[in-house]
């Protein structure tokens, strides 16, 4: 009996989908392993768990990412630095090729914000923004790659989506899963979803620009960034160098990167610990020359 229960649990654990849990429990009932009430409880529990950011499909993440980006871009000016932006995209796309998710719905896109503020943002689906102030903090391509790797890591770990209140996701799923809905173009449905969409954009934008992700998610982004830099061939110490310069340049209480990120000393110490565990790629003079030539005068 224990083995049979293990098999059911295996089936359940290998998927997060409530619908599949439903099928599993039905099979278990037919086999006489679970009672109907136990199966119902299992299904209810599974449904509750799956109404999270993980239920947001890639195409929905894309539309959320576009609107979060538009909201960020209403706060920052952009000038068409065509060559510089292409260079930023080349570094970013080189990094994502070494990631677990090299392709997102629209693919990754990178843009320089025309601001002296030292900051960088990542919106869902791979829209990444870096201010001129942040680029000026970088002394070579490896430093800039470290900044991008940290932001890409927020995308890889769905951090912005996690900022959406669970109640909004539940509400959206209830609306789209409702009986008798024939088309998403139905005005009433669109208006209901727009309210949830608007709230979700607000949750994410507030987190990105005001409250920050918090220590745990920033730490996760730093750790993923170190792995990404290591795998792609960039010097992982760039993250430490950028954090040290951030610490020297920014003032406590300023409305920039420091306002939305945990204590820099703690982050530096943690990153150094991870670096001590493995090999470190060297900085390349060739890449530094390319950086200075392309983006060094911003």
């Amino acid at each position: 009996m224990t083995r049979t229960i293990r098999l059911i649990l295996l089936g359940l654990s290998l998927t997060s989908c409530a619908q599949l849990a439903d099928v599993s429990s039905k099979i278990a009932v037919q086999a006489g392993v679970l009672s109907s009430s136990q199966a119902d409880a299992l299904k209810r529990s599974s449904e509750a768990v799956t109404k999270t950011f993980e239920d947001i499909t890639p195409s929905q993440e894309y539309y959320l990412g576009r609107s979060v980006s538009a909201t960020l871009l209403s706060k920052y000016a952009v000038t068409p630095h065509i060559q510089e932006n292409r260079y930023l995209n080349l570094i970013g796309k080189t990094l994502v090729l070494s990631s677990s998710k090299p392709e997102t719905f629209p693919n990754y896109h990178f843009l320089i914000l025309d601001s002296d503020e030292i900051n960088a943002f990542a919106a869902p689906s791979g829209f990444v923004f870096v201010t001129k102030g942040m680029i000026r903090l970088c002394q070579n391509e490896d430093d800039l790659a470290a900044v991008l790797a940290h932001e890409i890591s927020h995308v890889l770990n769905s951090h912005a989506l996690r900022a959406i209140k669970t109640s909004r996701i539940t509400s959206a799923l209830t609306i789209i899963g409702g009986e008798g809905i024939k088309t998403a173009a139905n005005n009433s449905i669109v208006n209901q979803l727009m309210g949830t969409f608007e709230g979700s954009i607000d949750d994410m934008t507030q987190t990105l620009t005001n409250s920050g992700y918090g220590r745990s998610l920033e730490s996760e982004a730093d750790k993923t960034a170190v792995a990404l830099l290591q795998k792609s061939g960039y010097n992982q110490e760039g993250l430490v160098r950028v954090l040290e310069r951030l610490k020297a340049k920014t003032k406590p209480g300023a409305k920039d990167f420091t306002a939305t990120h945990p204590d820099t000393d703690d982050r530096i110490s943690e990153v150094k610990d991870w670096l001590s565990e493995g090999s470190v790629n060297p900085v390349s003079a060739l890449r530094t020359t390319r950086f200075t030539r392309t983006i060094g005068r911003l």
Binding site: L20, S67, S279, S284
Partner: protein, 155 residues
């Protein structure tokens, strides 16, 4: 014994991770079928969002798939998602697939974005659109990577 076999079968069927699912849907705007399991290989054809492909072989994060009459390699990140896991369970019965299909293309869509934009005329999507138009080709990226001095041995 029969019960155990049935349960084991169910556990396996419910696991797309174990490779028993043979049909997956493309979950990116434009997926690419490539000649080799690498992003720098030749693109055979493009496969649009929500088209179904048949998995023929697995090699790391790459899948050799068939789309219509053509075969090529696609990265798993263009195929796998929580939603696609449902699609992978097509063989489990119509109730699952039809529900999933009914949810596809709903939720936060272009129509919802348009409604949001009407409410927020202060927001400009012009630069978001411009961002998306910046295309980096595989050959550009390969050339950039090749000239990046990544081959230096890690110390």
């Amino acid at each position: 014994m029969k019960k155990k076999l049935a349960l084991f079968g169910a556990a396996l069927l419910l696991s797309p991770a174990l490779g028993f699912a043979t049909s997956l849907m493309v979950e990116v705007q434009q997926g690419q079928l490539r000649s080799e399991p690498t992003f720098f290989s030749k693109i055979i054809t493009n496969v649009g969002y929500h088209n179904s492909v048949t998995v023929l072989e697995e090699r790391g994060p790459w899948r050799l798939v068939q789309f219509k009459q053509q075969k090529g390699w696609m990265h798993i990140s263009a195929l796998m998602s929580s939603n696609v896991k449902l699609n992978a369970g097509l063989s489990l019965g119509d109730s699952i697939s039809s529900k999933d299909v009914s949810l596809a293309g709903k939720g936060f869509t272009k129509e919802v974005e348009n409604a949001f934009r009407k409410q927020h005329s202060e927001l400009s999507f012009a630069w978001v659109d411009k961002m998306e138009k910046v295309k980096i080709t595989s050959s550009e990226l390969e050339k950039f990577a090749a000239g990046s001095d990544f081959s230096t041995v890690a110390r």
